[in-house]
């Protein structure tokens, strides 16, 4: 019995070894493994951990199929820890060949010294025409007159409406269907009409991310974060007007009280008729059955159309081999050209030509939000972006909760952010020489 048992184990191990060898050989032959030395592998990091990551994965699979000499491997890391890991890996020379960065995070990453210029994407055979991007969007990735990356998309904040709730509240257009409010008056009317105060169960509008909501209005009043010299101007009159409007909604009881917590979640649950959120949230709505939603630009509250937004930018790591560099350039061009596929994930392509296609026009929310792109306000271009926005968000919170007036909250935030900027200038004088 013992002998038989030993024999079986040996036989099993031997069988496994044969299977492994045969599988290995087959894989080598079938995938052209003997010419593997010609295949360039590139790593691509991003924070697309939601359904957007699946869309990106499909694009990559297609690229790998069409380009057998390149193998793109994607690593998805939650945004919450993404920049930590990217910065550590990049600073140590172990960063990915290609990575996504939000436009406002690039100055910090550039300071860490591992971001290469992406000028080659715009020159040579197969080059992308820089004129196919909005100038303002492209300016966000320009450093020393060169391209610090290639914008893949623009994701502004816009107005989401529950079509059924608006229709029921009588907010309808000539066709009898729900009408997306476009002006301040229309917006306030829709807000009041859709609010059922008696039962306190339904609201016309709810704030979502207070700081971002305020910045959307700030863009309409021509508000600014920094002046030409890079000093904080958070308490400028335009910003105060924007914050007064947002905080005023709470003060007047037009939106759920700050402690209520209804926002995007309330909108999804059919308790709120309108919210302002980023275009990327559209993916969340497609998962809710029989929910009739509409998208539109943020209603004009200030002087003109406008909103807050950002871009996912494709950035290239320094010190790539020529082969890797060429492969990355090809992949960046491919992604940019196929960014209409990417738009399905709830994004707006940065390429102007793609936005004029019928396919894009068929994406209701994305195309409606895209109307705001010429007026999008990006977060400030500063290496201290994290601390800066933290102070600004705190100021918005104070004002919305009624702890401080808009003026006082922004005065305090201006002082704090200016101190942060001055500290950074003192600690990194070389970054401010130009």
């Amino acid at each position: 019995m013992q002998k038989s048992g030993n024999f079986n184990i040996r036989g099993l191990l031997g069988g496994l070894a044969v299977i492994v060898i045969i599988t290995g050989l087959l894989r080598t032959f079938l995938t052209g493994g003997f010419s593997a030395s010609n295949k360039v592998s590139i790593t691509f990091w991003n924070g697309f951990t939601g359904p957007d990551g699946i869309v990106m994965l499909d694009i990559i699979k297609e690229f790998n199929k069409e380009n057998p000499d390149i193998d793109v491997g994607m690593q998805r890391i939650p945004w919450a820890t993404y920049y930590n890991k990217l910065t550590v890996a990049g600073s140590e020379g172990r960063g990915p060949a290609l990575f996504i960065s939000h436009a406002d995070a690039i100055p910090r990453l550039r300071r860490a010294g591992f971001v290469d210029y992406a000028d080659d994407v715009f020159t040579g055979d197969g080059a992308i025409n820089p004129k196919d991007f909005d100038r303002y969007v492209l300016d966000r990735v320009k450093f020393n007159g060169r391209f610090g990356g290639v914008p893949l998309d623009v994701h502004p904040q816009g107005l989401y409406c529950d079509a059924d709730m608006l229709k029921k509240a009588g907010i309808i257009g000539p066709s009898g269907e729900a009408k997306v409010p476009e002006t301040k008056e229309e917006f306030l009317r829709a807000m009041d009409a859709a609010t059922i105060e008696r039962t306190d169960k339904q609201w016309g509008y709810a704030l979502t991310v207070w700081g971002a909501n305020m910045r959307a209005v700030m863009a309409q009043f021509d508000g600014k974060f920094l002046d030409e010299k890079g000093n904080s101007v958070l308490n400028c009159p335009e910003n105060v007007k924007a914050l007064e409007f947002v905080a005023g909604l709470t003060k007047k009881g037009k939106v759920p009280p700050p402690s209520n917590g209804l926002g995007w979640f309330g909108f999804r649950q059919g308790k709120v008729a309108m919210v302002w959120e980023g275009v990327y949230m559209v993916g969340d709505l497609t998962r809710v059955n029989s929910f009739h939603y509409l998208g539109g630009p943020i209603p004009v509250i200030g002087n003109h159309m406008g909103t807050i937004g950002n871009s996912h930018v494709m950035c290239i790591r320094k010190n790539l081999s020529p082969k890797e560099h060429d492969a990355v350039i090809r992949f960046v061009r491919y992604l940019s050209t196929h960014s209409l596929d990417w738009a399905q994930a709830g994004q707006i392509p940065a390429r102007v030509s793609l936005r004029s296609s019928e396919r894009f026009k068929g994406m209701q929310v994305q195309s409606a939000f895209a109307k705001q792109i010429p007026y999008v306000l990006f977060p400030p271009k500063t290496p201290v972006i994290f601390e800066f926005m933290l102070q600004m968000d705190l100021a918005c919170e104070y004002a919305v909760r009624g702890q401080k007036t808009a003026q006082k909250a922004l005065d305090d935030a201006q002082k704090e952010t200016q101190a942060i900027i001055e500290r950074d200038r003192r600690e990194h004088p070389e970054d401010y020489k130009s």
């Binding site: 920049y83 930590n84 910065t87 550590v88 600073s91 910090r108 990453l109 300071r111 860490a112 010294g113 700050p258 402690s259 209520n260 917590g261 209804l262 979640f265 309330g266 649950q269 308790k271 290496p383 201290v384 994290f386 601390e387 705190l394 919170e397 104070y398 909760r401 702890q403 704090e416 500290r423 600690e427 990194h428 070389e430 970054d431």
Partner: protein
């Protein structure tokens, strides 16, 4: 080699794995963090790092966010430490008094402590949810007012404390139960023979014997309270208005989101200083009392 020497060598050999890991993963990082606290080190510009003496410490003491975080930490400690002592002791006594089913109840009380802080935090985030949470749902059903547990400054920190209590109280109650079980029966029998009432026995015999254990719980809970991080990070993200953003979260965000490692290290040493001061004061007070 003599017998004593052999025993010494054996002892050191048994200790060696722990000593190695302690040296590598505790001692060395502590030394590095001490050095970092005197250095201006920005991860995005590590090449430009330089020694700045006590600058990081003086910057922290002038930083409004540091004091906000200190206030939140103290707020948490003030609520958490007495609550742990009172409820933990009450549970310990309750378990001690049980004649049947004690093991089951002890297991159930201890069970939440087995959860990871993230899992416990997410669970309580749902319990505390304004609209759909279990607590407000139950309150509505029995006609009580619903409360903005996590989104109002007045309730946010107590909510964090409630979750922390649920998560940690099991361990404290078991420590106290064990201490109660260690009390020699002859003391209690002697008190009964002398005609001591239940109250006299509890306060004149049991509590004095429990004092070292209660002191241990007091110190460890205080240290734990100063290090509060995961609960608030998950439940409230530090809000509203940074009212639940403790020193550890401030330190973490400064170092790992702001990439200011030197400043982050200085904050951690200031926190260490605070814990040390409190521990020493507690120690002196308790010893003087006893």
């Amino acid at each position: 080699m003599t017998y004593i020497q052999k025993r010494n060598v054996t002892g050191w050999l048994f200790l060696a794995p722990f000593m190695c890991s302690f040296f590598l993963f505790v001692f060395v990082p502590v030394c590095i963090s001490l050095w970092l606290s005197f250095v201006q080190l920005d991860l995005t510009n590590a090449a430009q790092s330089k020694v700045v003496g006590f600058q990081n410490f003086s910057d922290a003491l002038k930083d409004d966010l540091f004091w906000k975080a200190t206030h939140a930490t103290l707020n948490y400690a003030v609520l958490m430490v007495p609550a742990v002592l009172l409820i933990g002791t009450a549970l310990g006594f309750g378990l001690y008094g049980m004649s049947r089913g004690r093991d089951l109840v002890r297991g159930l009380i201890y069970l939440p402590g087995m959860l990871n802080v993230a899992a416990a935090g997410i669970l309580w985030q749902w319990f505390f949810n304004n609209e759909f949470g279990l607590i407000n749902f139950t309150a509505k059903r029995i006609g009580l007012p619903v409360l903005p547990w996590l989104s109002d400054k007045a309730y946010a920190m107590p909510s964090v404390v409630i979750m922390s209590l649920w998560w940690t109280i099991g361990a404290t109650s078991i420590i106290i139960l064990t201490a109660l079980q260690q009390i020699p029966q002859m003391f209690l029998e002697a008190a009964a023979l002398d005609g001591a009432s239940q109250r006299q026995t509890t306060f004149k015999i049991v509590f004095p014997i429990l004092r070292p254990v209660l002191f241990f719980v007091f110190i460890t809970t205080t240290i734990g309270a100063f290090q509060m991080f995961g609960q608030a990070m998950i439940l409230t993200g530090g809000g509203p208005e940074f009212s639940t953003r403790g020193l550890v979260q401030f330190m973490f965000e400064t170092a790992f989101n702001g990439f200011r490692f030197g400043y982050g290290a200085a904050i951690s040493w200031l926190l260490f200083g605070m814990i040390a001061v409190f521990a020493v004061i507690q120690s002196i007070v308790v010893r003087r009392d006893s």
